[in-house]
Amino acid sequence: MRYLPLSDSDRADMLARVGVSSVDEIFSDIPEKARIDGLVDLPRRQGEMAVERDLGRMAARNIPASSVPFFVGAGAYKHHVPATVDHLIQRSEFLTSYTPYQPEITQGTLQYLFEFQTQVAELTGMDVANASMYDGSTGTAEAVLMAHRVTRRNKAVLSGGLHPQYRAVVEGLSGLAGDAVESLPADPTGTEDILSRIDDETSCVVVQSPSFYGELIDLKPIADKAHQHGALLIAVFTEVVSLGLVESPGAQGADIVVGEGQSIGNPLTFGGPYVGLFATKQKYIRQMPGRLCGETVDAEGKRGFVLTLSTREQHIRRDKATSNICTNSGLCCLAFTIHMTLLGGTGLSRLARINHANAVKLKKLLAAVPGVEVLNRAYFNEFTLRLPKPAHDVVEALVAKGILGGVPVSRLEPGIAGLENLLVVASTEVNTDEDRAAFAAALKEVLA
């Protein structure tokens, strides 16, 4: 087997050296009745060519985003990633290294984590950022738990503009952890009255902007109200590119900012692995979950980096840890950092303007289709349409015309009256005028 260096003669010699006549002797602690006799009922080994063909056939049954006019967003976005990024993250020394527990021989990983933290802090307008969470949704749940630790309260208020699956993650964990979550109803227009839900028992308010429906939410009044009541504002985003053009959550008063970083550096990959961005104020760092990389010096006084404040973490603190998180999204952070480094602030803002311009163009085209209503007033690269028929059927009809035309809200919020006809549509830099025209024309036909 190509991955196994031992030859049969190696094995025989080594068994003799170990002092057993067969390898099964070493496994004799396994209760006899549980030992597998022979092989489990799965196919035998295959050569590389066969495996490649098998998987290639599966892959060929899916329609890649790049192969069609593509307008699907709702928490994951199709962006163009420079080839440099994927090349670099495949460097053996990055790809096949472990968590940097030995800082002397992992300065490569540690330095990029430090760069990553700096970039995330600047983008979010916060004091500090950690070295990533699994993704935006789990990061949001961790943010709520953190707010509970900080405020010593346990009632979270979730906006109706929060991504429904993020909401489900928060509710699931909080529910089983014994916390209270008040989730507001779906808010496609960004007009919910969240201020009135904040009281002195509230630990945190969780607001997404741009919202799941694409609407930009003014966080300042919410931050003010939360702070008046001793609660924290957790600002969430799923489209990090928006931060190139939209006021940062930090500048709007957020206490914890959490979001999905996939758009920068990371492919869609059917939903994962992605990279959760997590930032907060200096005063809360000891309540933060996840790894942190910090600057220090070595025995010769040279600058170096280490994992730090690990007394917050599970491998030291065990049941007193701020989180059980262990693995992070290291390689996705690296992709994020390299792409962000290529962009710089200048490039990110330009990219954001292109995204927004494309969305504005698309909105105009789609709004002109008879029967279509656009619900948004302020948006970045995504907005919500009210269609004259169920969005699910429209999307399927668009597939038949070779267009992937957005996400029906009903896929994530099934069975709720008033939402069946809503379609969330995104437009990024990958969309061309032809793509948009084709979408508008097809939508017109489908609705005719």
């Binding site: 080594m14 985003a65 709702a74 070595d298």
Partner: protein
């Protein structure tokens, strides 16, 4: 060679990505347009390439040498898997594009789930957890949900002292109280001890969390009795699957009485560790827990697998406790893991476990006369645990010993874990090492031990000497944390060519 931070070599007025400004248009951002520029430096493409290539050379990796980090399972990462994960049909599909446009993706997840269930002998699998600890959380949430559904809510979780820190942390996160189970002389768990703890907290034990093979590298020989005791008490058996790689094809956790177990795809099935992530932690579940698997899950349909994403899609028996994450889990890791499993096949996976165990024992017999085994000279599974008895009176600590390995070209083993052993050194060579590689490793460690015993303390106390950095001041880092680069204050002009 030193490499500055990107912020020190980059400039905020350039970009390394060629984008054309859009034509004039009317923004629709309302009042929320950003007022200040994003103050982040950029590098041109050649500079970025060099910056990250140079940084990479400061890392050790499995591709550079033996990486015997016990419990972390640093094995070969086949590049076929990287290639497969990058096929546009996997890498370039959106989690929410219509399901009719991604049948191959659903198939892949379903097929991987099938392999995991067959290998573990379990009834269901929750695919979405993002990493091992997330899988633990998922499994414990299913357990809690099952208790609640049965109208109970016991508050105690039993965890042996040798457990990974994630185990107590996970239990605590769900509001459980952690009660320790002491180990026997030989490092394993005594069923009597488990029964005693259960009796002590009668009616209030929710689960036991146990790693098997345990973190001392020993298979828990009484595991079936332990499981029975736990089940008897209406509690569940959560198995930490971090060490499943030792027994794939040799035993099925389902046959051992396990109710839930996460599988670190990045350990057992070789998806790359990537400097600490991403991982993937699918959780296999027993019959009793299967109904509580979180959303989304895949159900066998008459025309192939069906991805169920919402409560609305559930049928009678399915009572998902909620959702672990947005979307469907770590697809990129699923592709890699399945490529790995198909490459090995049932025969290769078994052989890999055997080779991993053989390699660990080969290292053990190569070192046991010079180093000290806390539980005596006995077989280990895929990793061998030494303690620091052999360093007694040498003035060399476990940490020193480990750092000296760096100068010999090796990544150190896991140190000071498990906590049950003093000055623990946990060595996991994995099946990826050749005999020649192990021989050299053993010879190097023997040389180090002899050196320590000869009193050559400088070789250890100052180590590493030959790494990109000498020992780093972790205390200083924690005392006043510097967690990001700060732009130097503009007034502090550097004196020219100061020497």
């Amino acid at each position: 060679m030193e490499e500055a931070l990107l912020f020190e070599i980059g400039r905020t007025d350039i970009t390394g990505v060629d984008l054309d400004e859009p034509d004039e248009f009317e923004p629709e951002l309302g009042s929320l347009a950003r007022k200040d520029p994003v103050e982040l430096a950029a590098l041109s493409e050649p500079e970025a390439m060099r910056h990250y290539v140079r940084l990479s050379t400061k890392n050790y990796a499995i591709d550079s040498g033996l990486y015997p980090l016990g419990s972390c399972t640093m094995k070969h990462n086949p590049r076929l898997n990287e290639k497969a994960a990058r096929l546009p049909g996997f890498g370039d599909i959106h989690p929410l594009q219509p399901l009719s446009t991604v049948p191959g993706a659903v198939d892949l997840i379903s097929e991987l789930g099938h392999w995991l269930m067959v290998l573990t002998g379990m009834s269901a699998v929750a695919m979405s957890p993002k990493a091992g600890a997330h899988g633990e959380l998922c499994g414990m949430m299913a357990i809690k949900a099952a208790h609640i559904a049965a109208g109970r809510d016991p508050k105690i979780v039993l965890v042996p002292e040798s457990a990974h820190g994630t185990n107590p942390a996970t239990a605590a996160l769900l509001g459980y109280q952690v009660v320790a189970v002491d180990a026997r002389e030989d490092g394993t768990v005594d069923p009597g001890e488990v029964q005693a703890r259960i009796a002590e907290h009668a009616g209030n034990v929710a689960a036991i969390m146990l790693t098997n093979p345990n973190t001392c590298g020993i298979f828990e020989r009484d595991i079936i009795e332990i499981a029975a005791a736990v089940h008897e008490a209406d509690a569940y058996f959560y198995c930490d699957g971090a060490n499943f790689n030792a027994i794939v094809g040799k035993a099925k956790p389902g046959d051992l009485g396990v109710d839930a177990m996460h599988i670190n795809l990045h350990k057992t099935f070789s998806t790359p560790h990537g400097g600490g992530g991403p991982g993937a932690g699918p959780v296999v579940l027993s019959d009793r827990l299967a109904p509580f698997a979180p959303l989304p899950f895949i159900r066998a349909g008459k025309d192939g697998p069906v991805l169920v994403e919402t409560e609305a899609g559930t049928e009678g028996g399915e009572k998902p406790f909620g959702r672990m994450t947005a979307f469907h889990g770590q697809m990129g890791m699923f592709v890699r893991a399945l490529a790995y499993m198909k490459s090995h096949g049932s025969d290769g996976l078994k052989q890999a476990s055997e080779d991993a165990v053989l390699n660990a024992n080969y290292v053990r017999v190569g070192l046991e006369d010079l180093m000290s085994l806390p539980f005596g000279s006995r077989w280990c599974m895929h990793e061998v645990l030494f303690d620091d008895t052999f360093l007694k009176d040498t003035g060399v600590s476990t940490l020193d010993f480990a750092k000296a390995m760096i100068d010999e070209g090796y990544h150190p083993m896991t140190m000071y874990f498990p906590l049950v052993v003093h000055g623990a050194m946990l060595i996991e060579p994995t099946e990826s090492e050749s005999r020649a590689s192990l021989d050299l490793f053993v010879a190097t460690l023997r040389d180090l031990v002899m050196s320590a015993k000869r009193g050559e303390t400088e070789r250890f106390s100052g180590a590493p000497y030959l790494a990109p950095r000498r020992r780093l001041d972790e205390t200083r880092a924690a005392r006043k944390p510097i967690l990001k680069w700060e732009r130097p204050a503009p007034q502090s002009v550097q004196p020219e060519a100061a020497e």
